[in-house]
Symmetry: C2
Subunit: 209 residues, 2 copies
Amino acid sequence: MQHSENAQGVEDVVWAPPRRFGPRSAPARRAILEAARARFAEDGYEKTTIRAVAADAGVDPAMVMRYYGSKADLFDATVRVASDLEDLTKVPREEIGRRFARAMLGRWERGENKPEAAALRAAPTHPEAARSVQRSFNEHVLPALRRAFPDDPDIETRAGLVLTQGIGTALLRYVLEIEPVASMDYETLIEAVGASIQRHLTAPLGSAA
Amino acid sequence: MQHSENAQGVEDVVWAPPRRFGPRSAPARRAILEAARARFAEDGYEKTTIRAVAADAGVDPAMVMRYYGSKADLFDATVRVASDLEDLTKVPREEIGRRFARAMLGRWERGENKPEAAALRAAPTHPEAARSVQRSFNEHVLPALRRAFPDDPDIETRAGLVLTQGIGTALLRYVLEIEPVASMDYETLIEAVGASIQRHLTAPLGSAA
DNA sequence: TTCGAAAGTCAACAAGCGTTGATATCGTGG
DNA sequence: CCACGATATCAACGCTTGTTGACTTTCGAA
């Protein structure tokens, strides 16, 4: 079950501000970014402080500003991530819903989702984070589903519906930890969410479409 | 931190000022609560300031503290609301999903949802808001569905799944305004979300439940 | 009319925030 | 060796926040 090419834990696509900084500071920059991901994912945008990120990374707060410009820019760097979706074109059509649910929720279940968690946690109060969710839909979810259903004229509407089910599940289970969703058996959850997504992808759309 | 008068004070009340305040201040208290609802719903917990609420209500910031104790207590008063769900016992079983979707999303669509919006907007960063979502599930969603499906042993799991679909839709359409969900035709949305909820309520549950 | 409590005003505190600039230290090329 | 730019440290700035206490005004009851 491959989820991404670079299984390398922390990919070093450190969004580099030009070349004003030599390679000697790479460890510090990486430590800052890692600490920022954890803090933003856990506390959201407002409650995350530059000072706390710096302390977690073991650097001076001024270094954070030096390398990332501002708190807003640091957040942008935090949520900027590749996170490709599995190729669904070779999956049998009846299985796509389940596979999509697994691809989306698996990252959360395994805890390899700091950027997504930061974006989702911060989205309701930080507009830039909401735009990041929109971008993730435009650049990953929608294209992947379009490739799987190339001749469906309503695929955009369907993809939006898929996202409501997927993000709703992630929010309740992993961010808000609402019971019984948070403690629900994972396979049962995948089964139900996958079937719901499958329905959004294939069932007839009602009303004026 | 604490705002209690320690020795004599029996207990500090959470939401409604007991009768320590005369009826002459009722308009001000109501204006404060209304302004707080709007601000919390729009900006979330952290970005909402006592000063802004006071300005919107046309009162002095100190009045907000006087009548509601603290910012956290003001938020509690904001999200404490009845919002009963329609009685679903007389609805045909095949229609319950659609009716539930309408009951849940209709309030949002009509904008009569300030307390829910405040709770959902603030939930990812303010734990008390997340607990308010949990309470709403425990006290309204789950009982309503239990009455509609009294003999289903998995109704709690099913109700949780229903909530993932319902809250996911509300979040994307009304809070984050993610396209194409935000601009989707309302009846089309109800049809799809209602059918998904219906599926969660009636389809067999997979795996070990 | 008088008086006391309720209602409202005002200024300030202490703490925390993002951010900045001056300064010290390191590491390497000449 | 020295020098110079990159790297790191430090202290502070200006601002906003929740919250508080002293003060004045309002108003109905005695």
